[in-house]
Structures are given as C-alpha cells and as structure tokens.
Symmetry: C5
Subunit: 95 residues, 5 copies
Amino acid sequence: MIFAKVVGTVISTQKDENLNGKKLLLCKEVDHKGKPLSTYHVAVDAVQAGEGCFVLLSYGSSARMTESTKNAPIDAVIMAIIDDLQITHSTQGRK
Amino acid sequence: MIFAKVVGTVISTQKDENLNGKKLLLCKEVDHKGKPLSTYHVAVDAVQAGEGCFVLLSYGSSARMTESTKNAPIDAVIMAIIDDLQITHSTQGRK
Amino acid sequence: MIFAKVVGTVISTQKDENLNGKKLLLCKEVDHKGKPLSTYHVAVDAVQAGEGCFVLLSYGSSARMTESTKNAPIDAVIMAIIDDLQITHSTQGRK
Amino acid sequence: MIFAKVVGTVISTQKDENLNGKKLLLCKEVDHKGKPLSTYHVAVDAVQAGEGCFVLLSYGSSARMTESTKNAPIDAVIMAIIDDLQITHSTQGRK
Amino acid sequence: MIFAKVVGTVISTQKDENLNGKKLLLCKEVDHKGKPLSTYHVAVDAVQAGEGCFVLLSYGSSARMTESTKNAPIDAVIMAIIDDLQITHSTQGRK
C-alpha cells in the first residue's frame, strides 16, 4: 500500500455502471511523513475519507475487495485513514 | 486510475477473438490538469469515449470488470469520462 | 496494452508443462509510431504474429485470457497485430 | 518478491472491516545485502515479523494468499523472514 | 516475462506455511543477451533451475499457475530455463 493525501474529487457523469454511487477521489502521493510527492492517483473511497485526509491506497485486484468496490472496474481504493505512524526502528543501515 | 486523453484509434484485423467488436483507443497520459505527459497507452473503450475526451483508465484485472471487456485479454479500459475536477485541498505540505 | 515489435524467439526445453506448444517471442517495446524503445519483453504469441510484426502486448492476469494461454504461468501475451494507427486528435495541449 | 526491513507500525482506526486485527507494518525497501533503498511500503504481517526484521514482501493478488490476508483489500504482505542469503554464483558477467 | 540469472538462495525458517518445500531463489535481472542489470528479484523455482542458469521470470498472479506454486503468497516464479535466443529481425528502426 502507498501513502496519499486526499486533495479533490473527480466528477464524471458518463461512466461504467458499476461506478454509480462511488466516490472518485483525487489523491496526491505522499511519503511516510506526509510530504507530497509528484504523483497523483484517482481512487475510490471505501472508508469515508474526508478531503485532506492522510490515507492508504491499495492497488490492483485488491482494490475490489471492499464491500463498496467489488466488481467495479477500478484499480485503486482508499482502504484506511492513517491516525499515526510509529517508527520504532532506525531506517538507516543494515538489520 | 490514471488520467488520459483519447488521441486516436488502433486498427487491428488479426487479433484474439475476444477483442472482436471492441474499440482499441490510443490514449496519451495526462496529469490531473490535462497537461500531456510522455506515455501512451492502448485501452478498450467501455464508455463511448469520443476522441479528444479527458478520461480515466483502469489497469490490470480491473480492466475486465466492465460488461464489454469481461473475459478479454486486455489490461486497460476507459471506464469514465471526466467532466470536472474539484481540487478542494492544498496539494502542498503536510496533512 | 503496449506497443512492441517481434524480433526473435526464445528457445526453452526445461519449462513448466503448461508452456508446452506455446511460442515464446522476444519483443522490443516501441512507441506508437513504431520507434524502438530500450525495453525487451518475452510474450506468448496468441495471434500467429510473424517476426517483425508491430503488435500489442497485454500484461498480467489478462495475458491468460486467450484460448492458448489459459492456466499458463505467463504474464504477457501478444493479442493483436496492428495494421494501422489513426491519430485524429492533437497530442499536444489540453482537451 | 522484494527485500525490506520492518521499521514501524501504521495506526489506523477508520479502515475497511477486512483489515480488523491485521498488523500494518511500515517497511523500508532494502537491497539483497540489506542496504536501505529510498522506497517505503506498507504491508500486512503474516509471519509475526518483529520490527527491524529483514523480510520478503509479496505484491498484488498474491498478497491475499495467506490465511490472515485472504479477502482483505491489501496489496502487500510480509510472507517470510529472511535468515540468510547464500550467493553462490557471480553476479557479474554472462551465464 | 523478464530475463534473469539465478545467483543464490534465500534461507527462511519463519514463513507462510504455503511456502514450505518451495525453493526461493535470488535472481539478478539481465538483458536479452544475458548482461546483468541492477535489479534483483526473489522468485520461486518451478523448473529445477540450477544456480547460474539463464531463466525467465513470470510475475503477479501468473506466478501461481504452476503445480508447485498454486495458492502460495508469491509474486514471481521461474517458469523456464532459456537454452537460446534466436534474434531474426533487426532490433533497430521501424517495422
């Protein structure tokens, strides 16, 4: 899963019928500290993520494993809102 | 899902039988503002996207989740035409 | 799907039994105009693509959706030979 | 599969119900010698990996093939803790 | 599929039970001529590939399509040992 911040909404009228009622959110990828990276993703919201939220995105077939996304032609889902990260080990050097 | 603009059509006579009747569109990846990026994708059209349209592409097994693409050996589908993007949160800085 | 040109054949005797009788082709990725890029791919041929052909490759689980590739441990298939590309929209600028 | 080192924990209260009881670990990608690379991944732990562990991550639908991750909307799993690597062949030059 | 050379073995005691009895090999990606590239992959061996072998790796769900890898949480498999490559077409210029 990757980190992202919800920054907007995608409006679409003409879309596959399995997308009806699903919220397509514009997400900006961020690093684990919340610092913005350059990539944007569009993901379906499965956890009522408000805009500005720091979230986790899951990709591929796994994106269809939530109640609201099953059978939909979507490849990214917001499946968790992040409360906090606890970094307990040095991120430098060998094991 | 990623953003793209439909820029052309791919013509193929000799193809897998599950592709018969499907429209293969040439799409140029764009950023969330519609600015062209360098990558091209070929995707099947599931939403009657006209050429020039600003669309969303879904990748992988998810591309087979529309009525018109199920069981086809294709890994990208146009599943929504974008009307508008509402950016409601700063895309800079932390949460 | 991505564009490629068939440039050779991969010979393998010791392989998974589901690969028996399948043709493994060496493909060089090209851009939409047929200009060679630097990446090579090995893909199973599902459309009798001759060497030198300008083809489309489909990746991932979708590569197993042809009659000749189902159940095989392969992640790329040639599923169409390209006759022509019709570019009908400017590939520059916004929608 | 790729190499990673477990460096922290992701805390999330509001998440998809299939994630309940699963441990989301922050992993830093490392090379085969354990040297840190720049990418971070979030993966579900399927093998009781302690923090600081040198582990293997599996991606995509394969991440759902463990007892603890089946049916969950997750795209990365820690499926092995690495004890050792035995490099028995030169990593330089042709076969 | 991509080209790789088997260069070592990954030893793991604490791992998902579906990995028992499977050989995890360290593979260095190579180009089609066997020249080493910089990326390493860990893949399960499905074809008794000896170390030093020039092999093909298949990724994603396709990696689970061999007898020895079905249902395992692995995303890469060695599914063929390469005997030879026959390059029969120029890899330069257009079709």
